[in-house]
């Protein structure tokens, strides 16, 4: 086996050193009845490396992918451009195969990257501090609710119905086994009805969770909510799906968020059928010590040189055990390095360009829609809902688009089971070209 350095000679010599006869003599502590015969599993037969490449290539070719398609899928996962440099950096064994940087002296590469990541995420979201990432956005949203409960010592969580349905269902699931109330505020149109959200707040509320831009792409003013949260002494949690928005529009921090959570997948990470992505978690400085997940902090070494360490680890479960407030034990370390590389390569100007192109593509599409298809109203960043006369019209369009290698959008009910079946969630990025929009529009002909 090419991954195993031992020859049988090595094994024999090592066993002799120990005075043991056979390898299986090292397993005598496992009751014989539980030991299985070699080769008795039903997994596939061993493959050569070439065989593995063939197997995965064949599987890969059974899928249709975004590189040769016009692509309008969003809903939390976006086809933004991934520079080659990003993939190169995270392919380097020194980043890829490193352990969690608990030994800071020999992990400063990972740690400085994390510190830079935290800084840039805080700046982009307009928040005071960021942790060193969460699994992904849905669980990060749930963790935000848990943190708000800790901070406020209240247990009621109010969730806007315009938050990504997956963030909502995971959060509801996490909270369902704990004391306290979880309230989802039903939304009418494809946007956020802040008045309804505010009406749901009461004195027992720990936090209100909204999404901005919301699941339907709507951009709106959070100032009224901020005021309502102040009045009720609850936290305002802002979720987001495509962080590229904040290079163009006002950040969650500027809107007054206490906690902002969401996805960093847009920052140089491929869609990958849903993962690994990058969960982001940011908050105000004053709540820092209640923040879940790993955190990298600045310090000095015994020579006084600047260095970085994982810090605030008393919060981590391996120290306080039963008193742990979160069971999060890993982060998406490599994805942080990817995002840091991506942001460094982009800078303000590049990020703004991504956002401008993404928004311009949506605007171009919307402004050319025929009369028989309507787009949701109000300010949108790079995502909106198109409504067709009926389900059949929408599905005719989807089929026509597929013929042209256009992934035209996500049938809304696929993500949001409550939705009617004549809607399509459509997203744009800088990977959408004018020709793609032209193709999209011409496929709309069949939806009359």
């Amino acid at each position: 086996m090419r991954f195993l350095p031992h020859t049988d000679t090595d094994r024999k010599a090592m066993l002799e050193t120990m005075g043991v006869s056979t390898l299986r003599d090292l397993f005598t502590d496992i009751p014989a009845e539980f030991q299985i015969d070699k080769g008795s599993l039903e997994i596939a037969s061993t493959l050569s490396e070439a065989g593995i490449v063939r197997k995965f290539t064949r599987a890969s070719e059974k899928n249709r992918n975004a590189t040769n398609s016009a692509y309008f899928l969003g809903g939390g996962t976006y086809h933004h451009f991934v520079p080659a440099v990003v993939d190169y950096v995270i392919s380097r064994g020194e980043f890829l195969t490193a352990y969690t940087p608990y030994q800071p002296e020999i992990s400063q590469g990972t740690l400085q990257a994390l510190f830079e990541f935290q800084t840039m995420i805080a700046r982009l979201t307009g928040m005071d501090v960021s942790n060193a990432s969460m699994y992904e956005a849905a669980t990060a949203t749930a963790e935000a609710a848990l943190m708000a409960r800790r901070v406020t010592r209240k247990t009621r969580v109010v969730m806007a119905g315009s938050v990504n349905p997956r963030y909502r269902s995971v959060t509801a699931n996490y909270l369902s086994r704990l004391d306290g109330e979880y309230v989802e505020v039903d939304m009418g149109a494809f946007g956020t009805d802040l008045e309804k959200v505010i009406a749901a707040i009461d004195a027992t509320t720990a936090c209100v969770i909204v999404q901005y831009p919301d699941f339907y792409g709507s951009v709106y003013d959070l100032a009224p909510l901020r005021a309502a949260c102040d009045a009720a002494k609850c936290l305002m949690v802002v979720a987001f799906s495509d962080i590229s928005a904040f290079a163009l529009i006002e950040s969650p921090g500027a809107m007054g968020a206490d906690i902002a959570v969401g996805s960093g997948q847009s920052l140089g990470i491929p869609m990958g059928f849903g993962g690994p992505h990058l969960g982001l978690f940011t908050c105000k400085q004053k709540y820092l010590r209640q923040m879940p997940g790993r955190v990298c902090g600045l310090t000095t070494d015994v020579n006084g040189k600047r260095g970085f360490v994982l810090t605030l680890s008393t919060r981590e479960q391996h120290i306080r055990r039963e008193k742990a407030t979160s069971n999060i034990c890993s982060n998406q370390g490599l994805m942080c390095t990817a995002a840091a590389t991506y942001m460094a390569l982009m800078g303000d100007a590049g990020l703004e360009k991504v956002a401008m192109h993404s928004a311009a593509a949506l605007q171009s599409l919307i402004s050319q829609l025929p009369a028989h298809v309507s787009a949701a109203s109000g300010a949108r960043y790079n995502e909106t809902v198109l409504s067709f006369v009926d389900n059949a019209a929408r599905d005719r369009f989807l089929a026509a688009a597929r013929e042209k290698d256009i992934f035209a959008g996500i049938p809304l009910e696929q993500v949001d089971p409550a939705a009617e079946t004549n809607h399509l969630l459509v997203a744009t990025t800088e990977m959408v070209e004018e020709a793609d929009i032209t193709g999209f529009l011409s496929a709309l002909e069949v939806a009359k």
Binding site: L4, P5, H6, F27, T28, P31, F34, I43, S45, V53, F56, S60, N63, N65, A66, V85, V89, L96, T97, Y99, P101, I106, E116, Q118, T119, M120, Y135, V170, V219, I249, G272, F273, G274, G275, P276, R294, G297, T299, V309, Q317, N327, Q332, L334, A340, T341, A344, L345, G347, D348, G350, H357, S358, A359, A360, Q363, S364, I366, A379, Y381, M431
Partner: protein, 480 residues
């Protein structure tokens, strides 16, 4: 070489990356939300960006640069072909909400991965969704709780956890709305059957156990343990962090474990990436199968499907079907061994751990006698009399070219050093590591301990002030 922070580079950002896409107006409605101040993300040119991160990478220890004897972390070699295949466009650039007929290839691989993990664990029903081991613990407990609730046993909320367990176990129980009771380990570091019996009662939901345990010892009473818990109406949750000792040799499901999470970034060699992404699939028996989270990956005749809802399911625990790229790498690792060779993973891992134990046992205190499995446990007891502690030994190893072992864990022994060599290390490397450990023992005995207290001196940074970092945390850069 020193490398400044991105924010310290001494010039304004160059013209940005050339990007594709639509150049055109954005809506007036959107313009009214325009960001007022730029985010102040420092842009570098591509040459500077690459050099920045390449230089920083050189400060890191990684599996590709040296040995990682980290007990309970299973730091093994990460095959390069796995990195190649997961980057195929048909696997990397696909969206989770694409029509199912355009993702049959990836679904097939994932379904196969489920089947294989079920076969390997002896627990045939698998969810790939959990994003990490601790996440798997939570999901497993959710299923156990759902099953007990369905039986009407809503009082069962007590989870028994040995004091040697990973710290995530009690934390996961708490997050699942359950209460942890700690079991004191026996004198041999194993679960004490009397202690277990004393705590089992009608409120007991589950025992969470790690087998081999975190002292590296197999819980030989496993059959009785499971029987006792089952007789008391509870379930046995297996922490699969140490599955590397068993893979292809024995199956937790056969022993009576009801539910097991599997750390694919350990046993199945997906890269640690400096802290993640991981993957923590959970395998369960028939009893718990109805409660598996959604979405589920199912096979219906020749088609694969993502099933998003099921009435019995505990519901979704992640925004997607899992850390797909990580799971695909695990599939590739299993493929490379296949049924013919999979057992060799456990055999070589256990061989290596016992070999290290054998070479070090006369010079380092061994708290629990007997065979170890994939890792061996030592303490600093002999060295303490020379004023040397586990931490000093660990840091000295850095100067000698090795990553330290896991230190001060498990908590049940004082000054623990937990060493796990894995199957991908050669005898040559193990010998070099043991020689280094013996050199340290020699130095202690010779009173030559300054270099131990001062270590490390060779890496880019020396011992860092963790207290300072925690006392007044600086988590983001502030321009001076």
């Amino acid at each position: 070489h020193e490398e400044p922070l991105l924010f310290e580079h001494a010039h304004e950002a160059p013209e940005s990356l050339n990007l594709p896409g639509v150049v055109g107006p954005i809506s007036d409605a959107l313009k009214s939300f325009a960001r007022k101040k730029p985010a102040n993300i420092p842009g570098l040119s591509e040459p500077e960006t690459v050099r920045h991160f390449v230089r920083m990478s050189q400060w890191n220890h990684g599996i590709e640069t040296g040995f990682y004897p980290l007990g309970s972390c299973t730091m093994k070699y990460n095959p390069r072909v796995n990195e190649q295949v997961v980057r195929l466009p048909g696997l990397a650039h696909i969206h989770p909400d694409q029509p199912e007929d355009t993702t049959q290839g990836v679904l097939e691989l994932l379904y196969e991965t489920q089947q294989w993990l079920g076969d390997i664990s002896g627990l045939p029903h698998v969810t790939l969704q959990p994003a990490a081991g601790a996440h798997g613990e939570l999901v497993g407990l959710m299923m156990i709780r759902a099953c007990l609730d369905a039986r009407g046993e809503t009082n069962r909320r007590k989870v028994l956890v040995p004091d040697s367990a990973h710290g995530t176990n009690p934390a996961s129980a708490a997050l699942c709305g359950m209460q942890t009771v700690e079991l004191k380990s026996g004198a041999d570091g194993r679960i004490d059957l009397d202690e277990l019996k004393a705590h089992l009662d009608g409120d007991t939901a589950a025992l969470m156990m790690t087998n081999p345990n975190t002292a590296g010892a197999f819980e030989s009473d496993i059959k009785e343990i499971c029987q006792l818990v089952h007789d008391a109406g509870g379930m046995v949750y297996g922490d699969g962090a140490n599955l590397n000792a068993l893979v292809g040799v024995a199956r937790p499901g056969d022993m009576g474990i009801d539910c097991l999470h599997i750390n694919v970034h350990k046993t199945f060699s997906t890269p640690h990436g400096g802290g993640g992404p991981g993957g923590g699939p959970v395998a369960v028996n028939e009893t718990l199968a109805p409660y598996l989270p959604v979405p589920r990956i199912e096979k219906h005749e020749d088609r694969y499907a993502l099933v998003h809802s099921d009435d019995n399911s505990i519901g979704p625990v992640l925004g997607s079907a899992g850390q797909i790229g990580v799971l695909l790498r695990a599939n590739a690792y299993i493929s490379a061994f296949g049924r013919e060779h999979l057992h060799q993973i456990a055999e070589d891992a256990v061989l290596n751990a016992n070999y290290v134990l054998h070479r070090l046992k006369d010079r380092y205190h061994v708290p629990f006698a007997g065979l170890c499995k994939h890792e061996c446990l030592l303490t600093d007891e002999y060295q303490n009399s020379h004023g040397v502690k586990t931490l000093d030994i660990a840091k000295r190893l850095i100067d000698l070219g090795f990553h330290p072992m896991t230190v001060y864990f498990p908590l049940i022994v004082h000054g623990a050093m937990l060493i796990e060599p894995t199957e991908t290390e050669s005898r040559e490397t193990l010998d070099a590591f043991c020689d280094a450990m013996l050199e340290i023992a020699d130095a202690c005995e010779a009173g030559d301990t300054d270099m131990l207290h001062e270590a490390p001196v060779k890496p880019f940074r020396r011992r860092l002030d963790e207290t300072k970092a925690a006392r007044s945390p600086v988590l983001v850069w502030q321009e001076q």
